[in-house]
Amino acid sequence: MKSLKIKLPVGQAFFQAVLWLLVFCVAIEAFARTSAGRNFFQYESYGSSHPHFDPQVIRIKAREVQDGQIDCIILGDSQVLYGIDPTIVEQAYFDSTGNTIHCQNFGLGGLKPITAYPLAKLLIKNFHPAVIVFGTDLFDYTAVQAGSDASIMSSPWVKYQLDDFSADGWLIENSNSYRSYLGADRYLLNGEENANHIEVNGHSLKFSEKTNMSQQEQVDYFDSLLDRPEITGEQLDGLHELLALNSAETKIVLFETPVDPIFFTLQKFAYNRKVYPDFRNMLENEAAYVNTDLWLTQETIQIPTDGWYDIVHFNKVGSEYFSRLLGEHLSGITFRVTGVVWCGVGGGGGGGAPPRSENLYDCPRDPSLRSG
């Protein structure tokens, strides 16, 4: 008993509003692309709620602009984020080889192999590093309380980068003003606390000293966090896929992020004493399968006793110590070198090497000096 009698035109005000909205969007985007606009919009976000993701993407992009090329990306969880200082890795590498490489830390709290794999794909696609150094340990493969993976993988930009198209993802990739809106929105939600402690090279200095928690509190805390220590297939698949990305263009190498030996006193390990040897065998098999480098550290390296922030993370002392060892270890691995300059010992041949520079950034970036 109802009939429809619409006379056109209808809703002109609405359609005018849509037009004005489009005009507004174009204008604001044009402004955001000017240098004044870039200064005006201070914040940026790539659509993930992970507290470290946005700052890490922003920093790696800035680093690429600054240095032209990123040679090595150190990927991993909070142990990498807080524990690896890429500047020290670069310096150690330089000291060993005389070659300059640009290393960036891409550590994200709670990152698991299953998410590291798609992220590595994304990083390779965008930054073409010569090597991705993945830091991992036993606890990435045992059932642990829900991590932060969803908060990374739900970013429309991450999905877009992995060929899962969405309007949001496209906008984040292509629109400065949209990224700025998301960034401002995130700032209003969280403040600046998340980003401030992450350095330009992706290393976080937040855990520089020692935690307030007692050792027993920490042990209890992690005991409550861990399920039974069994290696789960899901994370194993993630590692497997990640290693399968190993290519002539980008080498994928593995290292074990050590924990304080006290960690192995957790009660949960009573369930399965064999889990650590199993894990070691698993890593060795996986690395051998793609013929890449694996550096086991838990039982081979002695971290200074004052090097721990807590029972799983390095503090400043520990991170300086371990980063140097990592740089030295990397110097023994061959990978495609890009932008490496002749600027130190161990290179060249013929009539005398150029003088060694104390600061590796003093090295001239001259293609004619490049090593062959």
Binding site: G110, V144, Y181, L189
Partner: protein, 487 residues
């Protein structure tokens, strides 16, 4: 690609799937012969219900049959049998409501008591899912039966119309609670939907979306997770600020929902009742309840307050006898509290509001009488004081008994956690400003159509801003997961 099953799963009133569903239904509705239109609405309503759970649709259907049948019985029965039938009908409706809404919640207390005295060693929890809309269609069914019993309306012989009265999809989830008389009239009416109705519906939907998505959801995201769960940990400024903003969440969420429901229904030529009349501009507690969730307040007035009040007055007609002033609103608001939920804090909530109304009536009794309007500043201060007291008194609407006490005492204490920072309060304050702006715009005609009465450039400007805000608010950052020292 969006999966069809995802698009049409659990249709809520702001989901994309819902708007696709409405457009499809509208297309069919205006294409079929007029006699079939109500059938289209009924089928659509059941499909809508099915997207939630098939059992919900079954319960709704059973309820429709019972109420249709009891009303017919009531119509024909003799006086004494009539009373029996109305009680059977009301009891059946209440029984289903009590069972689904309250069994699990209340049985916990019951079985805990048994546990304590050792009569049982396990809790019986049925894990019942509360059927969508059951609180709302039960009240409508009861009012229908009582109205037929009181001979205010005849029983409806069309099963389709009775089923639609209970299950009509735009109002199924959360009302408005319609009166049978008004709703049947709408179903039977010959209405032509022209440009004006289309535009009005559009504005209602638009304003509703702004209230729900831009205001309500923006504030909700900013509220710290634990602030109402563990109020004892927070400081006075935190508690006060977040609870005041939360009042705007509840208001805009519900007013937004109602506005969308009214707008969508208008597209089908059926006008649903308004639920809100700028309640935050109320000058007294009683005034507030006449402007907040109006369809529920009206229901409570007609089926609880007036019968109770009249029964008491017949015994003692004096208006100066204080129980006559205090007890009827107290009983009414306690019933309202129980309707809202089975927990003790809802009863506390109802009792407090009832007492507030009773207090207002007694106080009015002794106040100097005048109908000369108060000076402007007195009006405004009255509004502000009324609103603040109401919001603070309404803490048990959201918090349970112990949380409420912790919250109230927290208002006089400096707690451990102080989260308030400038960047955090910007968005909630802007959202509250927008809420008041919309209210002021709606004030002159007390409806959602304030936007329509503006000049064309103002209209275009506000539509542009509204569209931009809608776009941006659906793209807000998700709240970060808790990451401290995970590996």
């Amino acid at each position: 690609m969006i999966q069809m099953t995802d698009l049409f799963s659990k249709l809520s009133i702001t989901s994309n799937g819902f708007f696709v569903f409405v457009l499809l239904t509208l297309g069919i509705y205006y294409l079929v012969p007029k006699k079939a239109q109500n059938y289209v609405l009924l089928i659509a309503s059941y499909l809508f219900c099915f997207t939630w759970d098939w059992t919900f649709a079954t319960i709704l259907f059973a309820s429709s049959i019972v109420n249709y049948w009891v009303a017919l019985k009531l119509d024909k029965a003799e006086d004494s049998a009539k009373t029996r039938w109305v009680w059977i009908g009301v009891a059946a409706n209440l029984g289903v409501l009590l069972f689904y809404k309250y069994f699990d919640q209340t049985s916990v207390y019951f079985f805990k008591a048994l546990l304590r005295i050792g009569l049982t060693n396990e809790l019986l929890i049925l894990d019942l899912l509360q059927p969508i809309g059951i609180s709302f269609y039960t009240l409508q069914a009861i009012s229908y039966l009582v109205d037929v019993y009181r001979k205010q309306i005849p029983a409806n012989h069309s099963f389709v119309e009775v089923s639609l009265y209970l299950g009509y999809f735009p109002k199924l989830l959360a009302g408005p609670i319609e009166r049978a008389q008004n709703f049947f009239k709408q179903l039977q009416a010959d209405v032509e939907i022209g440009n004006d109705q289309l535009v009005e519906s559009f504005i209602k939907i638009f304003v509703g979306l702004v209230r729900k998505l831009v205001i309500s959801e923006t504030i909700v995201r900013m509220i710290p997770l634990g602030v109402f769960a563990a109020p004892q940990k927070y400081s006075m400024p935190d508690l006060l600020f977040w609870w005041l903003t939360f009042a705007f969440v509840i208001y805009n969420d519900f007013a937004g929902y109602t506005s969308i429901a009214r707008g969508v229904s208008g597209l089908f030529g059926i006008q649903l009742s308004p639920n809100f009349e700028q309640p935050f501009f109320s000058t007294s507690y009683i005034d507030f309840w006449n402007r907040w969730h109006i369809s529920l307040s009206n229901w409570l007035r007609d089926y609880i307050y007036l019968p109770v009040s009249r029964a008491m007055l017949r015994r003692n007609p004096s208006g100066r006898y204080w129980p006559n002033l205090v007890i009827p609103p107290l009983v009414t608001m306690i019933v309202s509290g129980i309707w809202h939920g089975a927990a003790p804090h809802f009863i506390l909530w109802g009792a407090l509001n009832g007492l507030l109304q009773g207090y207002e009536r007694v106080q009015k009794m002794f106040a100097k009488k005048t109908s000369i309007p108060l000076p402007r500043w007195r009006q405004i201060s009255n509004i502000v004081v009324t609103l603040l007291i109401l919001i603070l008194i309404n803490a048990p609407f959201k918090m349970d008994f112990t949380q409420t006490l912790a919250f109230w005492s927290g208002l006089f204490r400096w707690g451990i956690i102080q989260t308030l920072s400038i960047h955090q309060i910007i968005k909630p304050i802007l959202a509250i400003g927008l809420s008041f702006f919309i209210d002021v715009m709606q004030l002159p005609a007390k409806d959602e159509l304030g936007l329509l009465r503006l000049s064309k450039p103002a209209k275009v400007f506000l539509l542009t801003v509204g569209l931009l805000l809608l776009f941006l608010s659906t793209r807000q950052a998700a709240v970060a997961p808790f990451i401290y020292q995970e590996f």
